[in-house]
């Protein structure tokens, strides 16, 4: 696994995950004419503007109408297009959940849903705009694939990869600049998890993380080295379908799993892992995420810390489960 060589440096590059989507869409749209884009008055915020400026004829400005956007995309997909719909995750897949369920997923329609501004790290905008339920409401729908990239490079690869598979895909993005974890040479395949941090020899605890918090998980593991705690960190970029083989392997190797996500614990990535392990290899688990609370205004750092998703909180969970 070739990660960013500067991962542990203080001046590691920071790029918003959504930027990777914008660049990936532009890149793949150049080679695949079937790709069209739809957006609800947030073209710059979701970075769909890169595509919209390059391909104005293949871009549809929906106005602030997320429900119609989902169904319009379904109609375009019925004519052979590969539509990408983008907005803030709170509004798509939040506001338009039923249209996504019925007109996209029930039809097994080839629409890619891109939700930006997920998580509490949206910051000052406050709880109304912080989608921390989107993994739950997308992964519960049959036919849907759910991807939460950990950085901008992975988001670019995920966007391109989503066009190579048929069917609905949800790609979860975040607003803030976040450290670049992977590199151009890091492999990315939909449905494949990867170990992004490991010590020599056996590990005591396995951490499964997704999204921007993969970075915090890696930092926690790195810092625990000095305490003699050996942690293996998995980047579970595809939440559905689960990479069951890789999760089972990590569970067998460590016997203890901590999941880390910027999402409600109820119904999120950790729940997906727990559902699988409870049936196949029940082991001790701890969950890092939001515990049945709404978000609020603050800086991303303040909020990540307030909701116990910072490096220290992850370290405590790991220490706790190791006992």
């Amino acid at each position: 696994m070739q990660l960013n060589p500067k991962l542990f440096d203080r001046d590691v590059e920071q790029i918003p995950i959504r930027q990777g989507f914008g660049e990936g869409l532009l890149e793949v749209a150049r080679v695949d004419e079937r790709i069209v884009g739809l957006c609800c008055d947030l073209t710059g915020s979701t970075k769909m503007n890169l595509f919209a400026e390059a391909f104005p004829n293949r871009f549809t400005q929906m106005g602030i109408a997320e429900q119609s956007m989902a169904s319009t995309a379904s109609g375009m997909a019925a004519m052979g297009k590969i539509p990408f719909i983008s907005s803030y995750a709170m509004f798509s897949p939040g506001r338009n959940w039923e249209q996504i369920r019925t007109t996209i997923c029930y039809n097994n329609s080839n629409v890619k849903i891109v939700g930006s501004h997920s998580g509490v790290s949206v910051g000052p905008d406050g709880g109304t705009h912080q989608a921390i339920e989107d993994i739950a409401i997308t992964r519960v729908i049959p036919n849907m694939t759910v991807i939460s990239p950990c950085d901008a490079i992975e988001a670019r690869k995920a966007t391109i990869a989503a066009t190579t598979m048929f069917g609905p895909v949800y790609i979860r993005l975040a607003r803030e600049k976040t450290p670049v974890i992977t590199s151009e040479n890091t492999a990315f395949d939909i449905g494949k998890a990867s170990i992004v941090f490991r010590n020599e020899g056996d590990a005591d605890v396995g951490v499964i993380a997704c999204g921007a918090l993969v970075y915090n998980a890696i930092m926690a593991a790195k810092e625990l080295e000095s305490e003699g705690v050996k942690v293996r960190v998995m980047n579970l970029a595809t939440i559905k379908p689960l990479d069951e083989e890789a999760i089972l392997k990590l569970a067998k190797e460590t016997g203890k799993i901590v999941t880390v996500e910027e999402h409600q614990i109820a119904g999120g990535m950790g729940s997906a892992v727990a559902e699988f392990l409870a049936e196949n290899m029940p082991i001790k688990m701890r969950f890092i995420g939001v515990r049945d609370k709404f978000g609020q205004s603050g800086t991303p750092e303040e909020l990540i810390s307030h909701y116990d998703m910072d490096v220290e909180s992850i370290k405590s969970s790991i220490r706790d489960i190791r006992m």
Partner: protein
Amino acid sequence: MQLKSFKKFLLKINDYNMHLTENKIQELEIKANEIRQSIIEMLISAGSGHTAGPLGMADIFTLFYFHILKHDPKNHNWEGRDRVVLSNGHICPVLYATMAHSGYFSIKELNTLRKFGSRLQGHPHREFLPALETSSGPLGSGLSQALGMALADRIDNNKTSDKFFYCFMGDGELDEGQIWEAVMHAGKEKLHNLIGIIDRNNIQIDGYTEDVMPLESLRKKLESFNWHVLEVDGHNFEEVNDAVEQAKAIFNKPSIIIAHTIPGKGVDFMERIPEWHGNPPGKGPDDIVSKKDQGKRALAELRTLQGKIVSEHE
């Protein structure tokens, strides 16, 4: 003119010559009546489902599938076909019955409606029946889908496309906000080949539309969103056909046809009664006809054209 191009020219003329002859109208009347009988039979067999809407739209569906649409029932994937999006999925008995009568599948299959394993799901599901253009049931999403299809077609063919995108809607579902998102959007895009048909039968589950949530003045509302609006008697084949012809000729706007229909049309004791919206024969209001006789009476009425012909069925 060379023979080949002359033939092409004739075909083109034929395309535009969609006038209804007396014979054709008679043929359509008979077909619509058969389709109504199928609707009643399939609802009796299913034991649940909607009655009034399907009967009210039987004439329009017959006209579309036997006269207006470019389609090939034996090759439902034919790329050049017109697209039909049924937005108010609950009236699917009329869609299924019309598709069966026009050759998409056997008429016998209609009796599997709503049963386990059937391709004819209680509300349409394209994964079960691929000849459908979409799945529907939750109201208000069809117009956006038809709009998406028309937009995709415009990206590929600019304005030279000869395909039309029809969306059938109920009037009750116009309560849904999403409809108005799509109405606004289609007006902006000036999609000439998008044609909506509203089944204006004035009833919805809880009663009359103007009591539940007034829609009037519907025409003015739609016109103000930059749609070309036509109003017709939905049981008059010529009027509906002329309206569709006019809608096709409008080049700088989407068109919508408000089709005034009689819910339950064709069966006297069902006509205009809101309680027949969501009940099948055998489970409808029994102040006129007892529940056990509703199916039989409905079929007898249809077979005798509401008593206009006396036959061996009487």
